[in-house]
């Protein structure tokens, strides 16, 4: 298929609601039509330029002020259209959610981060989405709003496949809810890519709760190694309740490399991904462990 990235060849009707109510009404009216929601547009417009994606109505929600906020009172509550660069500048994110902070900084470049949103990263549901592993290990949830309903789903359950989510045609993502982190916890995010501005060959997020030398709880997620971001459940089980030493970490690293399900694609090979996942997990665990404040 010949692509022309200079222009948007698709013709569509443009909707720009100013309030959340307006947006939900429009979603309800157009729920049987090919309506796509746009915020930053950094994924959607690329898809519209380079694939067959059918869009008859494009609804821009970036102008809805009610959806742009970060509430830091309890954990983090992030409005759907808050830009990534704004989120990264919030002190509490850098201080307590290291994995999320690092994942945002690993994304593309400043311009993209000024445009992009967390809701977009989730809605686009790429297995390579950098913010999904951190959100998963923090136990984050997202709020979906429809005209007459509201539901809250774990990020882990929301994404069901490559580009596939539980979002219904008459719903939008309104908020991302991240619980408070444990006082004795540390987290980290690492990513391997061709160049720093690139999408990941593999990425990893770890959240670990520590009591002296024992791992009280840990959550591990890998991206770009399956059809969705994967929780490394068996690896977590190896570590939970155990004394952390280098022998155990090495065993965990091996288990992780067996748990992930990478393929060969344009960015890397299954073999490389399996091999590097061991180092990545080890480094990520070490970092998260060392970040726990006593």
């Amino acid at each position: 298929m010949q692509t022309n990235t200079r222009i948007l060849a698709k013709e569509f009707e443009y909707l720009a609601p100013k309030t959340l109510d307006e947006a939900l009404n429009l979603l309800n009216v157009y729920k049987d039509k090919q309506l796509k929601i746009i915020a930053g547009g950094t994924d959607l417009l690329v898809k519209m330029k380079t694939t067959d994606l059918n869009v008859d109505y494009l609804m821009n929600i970036k102008g809805i002020e009610e959806l742009e906020y970060i509430d830091t009172e309890k954990g983090l509550k992030i409005g759907a259209v808050t830009s990534l660069s704004y989120i990264a500048k919030e002190k509490k994110v850098k201080a307590r959610y290291s994995a999320l902070y690092e994942s945002i900084h690993s994304i593309a470049a400043p311009a993209i981060r000024n445009m992009g949103t967390v809701a977009g990263n989730l809605g686009n549901a790429s297995p390579a989405a950098d913010m999904i592993p951190p959100l998963m290990v923090y136990g984050a949830k997202i709020k979906l709003l429809g005209k007459q309903r509201e539901r809250t789903i774990l990020v882990e359950d929301f994404i069901t496949g490559v580009g596939k989510t539980l979002l219904e045609p008459d719903e939008l993502i309104s908020e991302i809810i991240i619980p408070e982190v444990d006082v004795h916890s540390g987290s980290a995010f690492l990513k391997k890519s061709r160049v720093k501005a690139d999408l990941s060959k593999i990425n990893c997020a770890v959240y670990i709760i520590r009591e002296k030398n024992i791992c009280k709880d840990c959550r591990i997620a890998f991206g770009s190694v399956g059809i969705t971001v994967l929780r490394a459940n068996k690896t977590e089980h190896l570590l939970k309740g155990k004394v952390i030493n280098s022998e155990l970490i090495n065993r965990a690293a091996l288990e992780a490399s067996l748990e992930i399900k990478p393929i060969d694609d344009i960015r890397s090979t299954a073999d490389y991904r399996k091999a590097i996942s061991r180092t990545l997990l080890k480094d990520c665990l070490d970092l998260a462990w060392s970040r726990v404040k006593n």
Partner: protein, 160 residues
């Protein structure tokens, strides 16, 4: 598809134009408003040649719908100089031979200005990190980094 009205400020001037819903900002700037300083490089957000400021923040005009800039303030490379007086970053790029073919330059200059606004005294690593979304085929980046450092120290001199 009908045209829709868009109102915005462009390099300090109020503009009111009609655009198609699928018009991209980069094409409106270049083809309708004749501001060809902003360049088309890749069209998919990976090269930075199309960088402009929207409300003083660098964004990619190849991935911005023209209709979405209603009520915003846009600055292109053409809006930096004040009459014949170049912006300090432009001067630094010229003085440090950071311009060869010039294609990446508008995007580089705008992004660099945003960098110094956020971080007035960046290290070389910080410069490379911030500028990683702007690609150059000619210079090998050495002179560009030098220019940004020079502009930073010029600006810090003035502050004292």
């Amino acid at each position: 598809m009908d045209k829709i009205p868009v109102e915005f400020t462009l390099n300090g001037q109020k503009k009111q134009i009609m655009v198609f819903p699928n018009d991209l900002l980069i094409n409106i700037l270049r083809d309708e408003l004749y501001l060809t300083g902003t360049k088309y490089g890749c069209g998919i957000g990976e090269c930075g040649a199309c960088t402009v400021f929207i409300n003083d923040e660098p964004v990619l005009s190849c991935l911005t719908l023209a209709a979405s800039v209603n009520g915003k303030e846009i600055t292109t490379i053409e809006g930096l100089a004040k009459g014949n007086e170049l912006h300090p970053m432009q001067i630094a790029f010229l003085k440090n031979a950071a311009v060869q073919c010039g294609f990446c330059t508008p995007g580089m200059i705008l992004t660099a200005i945003a960098l110094l606004k956020e971080n007035p005294n960046p290290t070389e690593e910080e410069i490379k990190e911030y500028m990683r979304g702007n690609i150059c085929r000619c210079t090998g980046y050495v002179q560009i980094i030098k220019a940004i450092k020079a502009c930073a120290s010029e600006q810090n001199k003035v502050k004292r």
